[in-house]
Symmetry: D2
Amino acid sequence: MQKHADKFILLTGFEPWNGEKYNPTMDVVEELAGSVLSGCKVLGYVLPVSYRRVKDTLPALILEKKPLVALHLGLAPGSPVISVEKVALNIMATGPDSDGYKPSGEPIYSDGPVAYFSTIPVDMIVESLRRNGIPARKSFFAGTFLCNYALYISLHTVEMYGLETLVGFMHIPYTPKQATEKASPTPSMCLHLMVEAVKIALETALRYVGENSNQVKK
Amino acid sequence: MQKHADKFILLTGFEPWNGEKYNPTMDVVEELAGSVLSGCKVLGYVLPVSYRRVKDTLPALILEKKPLVALHLGLAPGSPVISVEKVALNIMATGPDSDGYKPSGEPIYSDGPVAYFSTIPVDMIVESLRRNGIPARKSFFAGTFLCNYALYISLHTVEMYGLETLVGFMHIPYTPKQATEKASPTPSMCLHLMVEAVKIALETALRYVGENSNQVKK
Amino acid sequence: MQKHADKFILLTGFEPWNGEKYNPTMDVVEELAGSVLSGCKVLGYVLPVSYRRVKDTLPALILEKKPLVALHLGLAPGSPVISVEKVALNIMATGPDSDGYKPSGEPIYSDGPVAYFSTIPVDMIVESLRRNGIPARKSFFAGTFLCNYALYISLHTVEMYGLETLVGFMHIPYTPKQATEKASPTPSMCLHLMVEAVKIALETALRYVGENSNQVKK
Amino acid sequence: MQKHADKFILLTGFEPWNGEKYNPTMDVVEELAGSVLSGCKVLGYVLPVSYRRVKDTLPALILEKKPLVALHLGLAPGSPVISVEKVALNIMATGPDSDGYKPSGEPIYSDGPVAYFSTIPVDMIVESLRRNGIPARKSFFAGTFLCNYALYISLHTVEMYGLETLVGFMHIPYTPKQATEKASPTPSMCLHLMVEAVKIALETALRYVGENSNQVKK
């Protein structure tokens, strides 16, 4: 059954930052980019860790591709599980970014609301992941850096332009190899498990889209 | 090059305890039992979580098999990495065990020393694991329950009977599936990585045996 | 210099819940209730851990007293420092409360925004606390239980009725005595330090009120 | 009732190290030095964080003063509670110390046993502390730096010279002020609580000495 022919999924990762040489979200995106999930083609992008450049490119990307689902990935150093984010805050309070910009708590969009809830089915995704043996939790705080920023910008774009795109964010742990380079014992997760997790999340979101559009049609 | 023909490795895991339904050390032992590493056959055993029954069987097992290496495995709930243990203390202070026995700080052997250092090359093993991308650390405290107990008993047996067996202990994390059953986010490690870690540890220990016997011969 | 004659501060704590016999916020409130800070009288209240009863009483209390500052206190089990909260989310997702009510993610007010930022000067307060030797941090997530709930309700009430009340929330750690009753080692803070912290926070907020009204007047 | 006239307690702290400007053990020692507990005079010393200089002075100090109790204090960065140490290991594996010496796992005394158990009544002390509202735990690992080193040296000296001195070690947390200087939220304990804890520990140890000498006399 082909559900969403000629429909897209937008999947983004981030470049390494803060002295890290590696960001596992790049490998997850590369692994899934070009594949087809439930009839939807995965478009993969790697975002720079730059406030300015993400704002310059991400809204345009969403408006151009009008994806069914936009799922952003970020690295959560030290986290033991996958975190599916529920909240995006209208604040920039961490830095400096790769361009050397250091915000001090200003809003992302001065006319935007204090926060958005992400629109992917967070509870269903966390439940699916755990049922498939992948440690995951719902999170209500995506930080005040580029991860929260990308999530807020996508949600705001979708809201401003009345798109139907479901938007979400998943924080993933270090890979085991990456964890070996840290001074103190730190949690990690195998890359193949993180790829599997993203696939499950996307399929769960698409199934949710399908069920909701059916309901609307009836 | 066949190094240790007709020589054995003793590899032990533990049964589940404390309400857990699963202990990943059983799967690691099952995976490696019967295999041949550097010419040594791996003899696998699963120990009961019982002070009495481990004391009744473990010394006899070591005396009968006279393994080149005796490596014991245990589960460390909540640990983010593999811990290669350096110290065994002459104390029993955690319980109750599977037989309902609850010690209160008494010595394992009333005539034994306060502690033994494990005799596998702990630093070399930790370094090998990390070089192979597996998060690991050296630990100086193996608890006061059955894990410390098995390590102490093996070291004491080898000391008492003048055997050449190298003795060690590795604590492994939860598996990802097991971690999904915990109430709060908890670290885990894929089973295939833990199996790989135990193989690397055994091969490193055997190489160390080989190098040391060569030195002795010269 | 008498700054705010006949003006009030509203300070609330919570009753114990979840099997705890004690909630240190009650002692902090009792300690400060009736005192006068920068010319403002502290009105102390202890809230029930009940979604229904807090909604029934807290808005009326704020409308009646029209305090200059409404500062709510809650216990954060396991936290090592004082957390000054920046965000209140329009969600109820933790339970059951003292009345046995267990929400499942529904909004606090169905017509309320996704979130409010608290209106006390969070950064200034955190800085004042640390400068005075009291460990503190800014937090962007106050949970999804009664603490977040009280903060959201106060902010929403102030917004709906156009009050000038500054609203905030501080999470405090266990007391040392309380920490001794926990099964595993857990952080704590002396009660006198928490009382001092709340005084500093209130005085900082009142100074901020004073400075801002002066600016407005000019 | 004067129990131990002309008898001494040896209480030691450490100088700051590793970039810290402050070590709270110095203040605890200063607070109690010169005081009389259960008829015993407290002799206070601050040890340098130097392998060489501690070995040069600590054994001589114990042999000269022949204290009833020798209690060493150390700072445990990040610890949420007081840790009463049970084990001293014959190993030096952390550095560099204040003299720039960096050991690599060598024994403290090449002819010493692998470990000593401390001889103060650890369980009684932990119980007394908790009963008095001070968070505390028994610990089986005092690190591989100067803390473990001082404990081992004192125990070895007492053993070698057949003294009756009870020897122990307590790790204390950061003070609140000190914790405010750390980059991330970190546990702390008020100095007055740590002073109280050390008094309780010493009195408990002296009571234990008294009870045991009575038993011996009978």
